[in-house]
Assembly symmetry: D2
Homo-oligomer: 276 residues x 4
């Protein structure tokens, strides 16, 4: 790099370049919009869209995004992200820290199925062709060969039928009927469900991840943002549980009451070599 | 604890008791409401309120909460929470991890002023009396003696006037006129501003934290939730910046270009004692 | 700030000033020592001391630090820091992320007692006087009035006698006999134990935090570093448990088997107001 | 699962089974050894080995591990893990939180090259054959085809020759001469360096990750533990920098002085559609 201080300082400034927010003393522009025009006039989902996409959504798009955000806030204390936040808050750390420890675990397995399901839908969409069932069978064949039998977005280890799927899918299909979205991904999602029944002879119904993936694909989000938006939603549950726990006066809460001893399956008691 | 297995298993179950969410196969109840009734009918801010407060808000309350959430999403890459998320995503970790590293730093100084300002307002409110200016002067006197001259929620190291304050305060005052909120905390906030001018002879205007604290106090949130709700809002900015950065192909991004060497002010080069 | 680019670039460089490490192409100096002289010649505890204190320790000091680091690595899966790391690794995140979620919860309650005990010892030490028992009684009186009856470093919710205390305290007392440390804090620690028996009529023996606090005070570390060093030690246990868990093929491990339902104590099922 | 409470409680206990640590009131066994026998008699690297491997190392193995841990503690404030911890501590969070935000970013790119290099060495080792140069060329060919031209463990964006490599490699070769390790991985590492020169015509010397990978392979650690052990080492630097920063009274430290404005490359100021 040049040793010229002016060139250096320009490089430092450009190091932190962004297209999201412009701040000068007394002025804040979000994607070009003065913040004071947005406050009170756009919804929180609108703002999430503006920040991540660069423009404001139509009302219909915003409502679909909102429904997805509402649906995913919580899955109770059996979910590691929730249990971790509850345990964390009893250790003498603040809400931001407890939330961070919880959000952090929304990884490929706990927070990633929506993203992976979006990739699957997009692969089917890109494969195109007139015969959606045949295309879907072929893509699933390839997917199972590469990744094994768990199909992200389908089946549930707990709910036989996920009560969130029908109302969310109805909202998408209503929006498709109104021309607000194409409906292609709703069709793909339903076809994956049908193809899984063809493959396995069993009902492996779409779950919350599968229907959220339909919505985010219809709205044009890239797959990694499927995880990102899920995190915004689940952060609400993480906060609510951390806060509830903080009102209960427990200290250093472990995963079970300390009176229930865990089992130990390691080596028997032994003695250190005296020559060591 | 009893050695009775039934008593033990009951204790394990109660260990994870919650009043937030009830899940059975095929059923999800959030604060008692079936999730399928909420989807498409309540807004995301409604859901945040329901999860953290236990009941649904009035429309007017929900709109005030929404405005506060919209206003606080981002403060640009100079904010450590944002810069950290941007650097993090270049290190080969996922969005959930980058967001966690960012959310984690919203501590007492970076994420706490709203909460601290709520405590100050509540102290003034609780002190009561007919003479708000005198009460405010007295509480500020005590506050400064205990905590020093920085008043959380007032003054800004960057903005002479924060453009978010006027529209947010107008929304509160409109809601007070309609009887949706009391307006007491808006009056207290304005009085603190006046009192600071009396104390210092200078304008130390209310900032975003100060006006958000007005809103959250009007809405009846406890102070720690001021931080919690701020985190939900700022998570949007953290996500947007992490995502933008992820599109830029930088690897192991440090705080400045590596060609700009940091200064070293430690001991001069020295040699290890050969007898060590 | 000056608009002069040279002054600006100097300010940027100084922004990241450090006294710890000096790096030039082909050269790395740690506190002034060339890294190549340190490798193979100093121990890992020596390096921890050099990095955090600025100079190398005597052999006796290093051995005491090492014993403290060895003693604190783990407290099993009932400890939230450990359980969190184990749950985290089953969520599809990497070792660094699982460790971060665990380390993060070593807060005031879970990771802070050593630090708090160091502060207590230092207060007794600073109070001075010839009559250590009287001084200790007086400081404890004040401490209990301010903080309640839990004395950090004394008593244990699990171990009647902590097996780590006797060997660690012996090492300190041996070092004091050799003149390597003063022994003042070992005396203070024992006196706190005696004072607690005088106060309560019961044995409330020194625990691991109390004896580690003796060591770190004898070695001249400031109290917050008591927490910092504990984190280095506990990170070993967090890593070992995360690694063991990663070998077990569990996915999204919650705090208890999902077949054991948690209790729900919130509102009964209810229906959303149809006018909403 | 059975509804029998006894079976349920046994399942809960086994849920948290471990082979690492056995705790009963008054007793702590680490991999079978009573903790009181370990304190003062094993080194901190011995304890790291015992916790992660299940047995104590020979003295020669422990010394090699120790050298690797000493060598990797820090790479200065240009490293995101270090800069993040420094920024974090100015936001009003504690050492454990600042360290967590830093450790969290030691991901595939920032903390993973050692692990990836171990995998490369092991692939060469497993390919076997009498002609190490030919095997190495062939494996590198495949590696570059699959992963691109960056070879983990070789080349450095900053140091032409990494000063840590020669002393570490000498320690391995000394240990091989004494029969403490096989020396196979040292040969493989040197051969990769030679093969890269053959491939590119340039010197792309082994860096710290490449030599640490030699050591960890010689010692029999699996590749993911390469990252895990690196984290233990780098945590020392993260702690030292967070602690140094905490002594400097900065508040909400961003990546550069706030007087240096970042550039904004997003849309120009625009006005919200009045009909929205």
């Amino acid at each position: 790099m040049s040793d010229d201080p002016k060139a250096q300082i320009d490089k430092v400034r450009a190091w932190w370049d962004t297209q999201i927010i412009d701040i000068e003393p007394g002025k804040i522009g979000v994607r070009g919009y003065p913040i004071e025009e947005l406050i009170g006039r756009v919804s929180f989902p609108d703002m999430i869209w503006l920040m991540t996409r660069g423009d404001l959504p139509s009302r219909a798009h915003s409502k679909l995004l909102e429904a997805a955000l509402v649906a995913s806030v919580d899955h109770g204390p059996h979910a590691p992200s929730i249990a971790i936040a509850r345990m964390a808050i009893t250790c003498g750390i603040d809400l931001n820290n407890a939330m961070a420890s919880g959000v952090n675990v929304l990884g490929d397995i706990h927070g990633g199925p929506g993203q992976q399901c979006m990739e699957l839908y997009q692969e089917i969409h890109a494969a195109g062709g007139d015969d959606l069932p045949a295309t879907t069978d072929r893509v699933l064949e390839r997917f199972v060969a590469a990744n094994g039998k768990i199909i992200p977005g389908f089946g549930h280890r707990f709910h036989p039928v996920d009560p969130r799927v029908v109302p969310l899918l109805s909202l998408v299909e209503d929006a498709a009927r109104d021309g607000a979205v194409s409906g292609s991904y709703a069709r793909i999602g339903r076809e994956v469900e049908a193809a899984l029944r063809r493959r396995t002879g069993k009902a492996i119904p779409m779950n919350i991840d599968g229907v959220i993936a339909v919505i985010f694909c219809e709205l044009g989000f890239p797959p990694p943002m499927g995880r990102g938006l899920f995190i915004l939603s689940r952060s609400v549950g993480i906060l609510a549980h951390a806060w509830e726990q903080s009102q209960r006066q427990e200290r250093i809460k472990g995963p079970m009451p300390k009176e229930i001893p865990y089992t130990y399956s390691g080596p028997k008691r032994r003695t250190l070599d005296p020559d060591r």
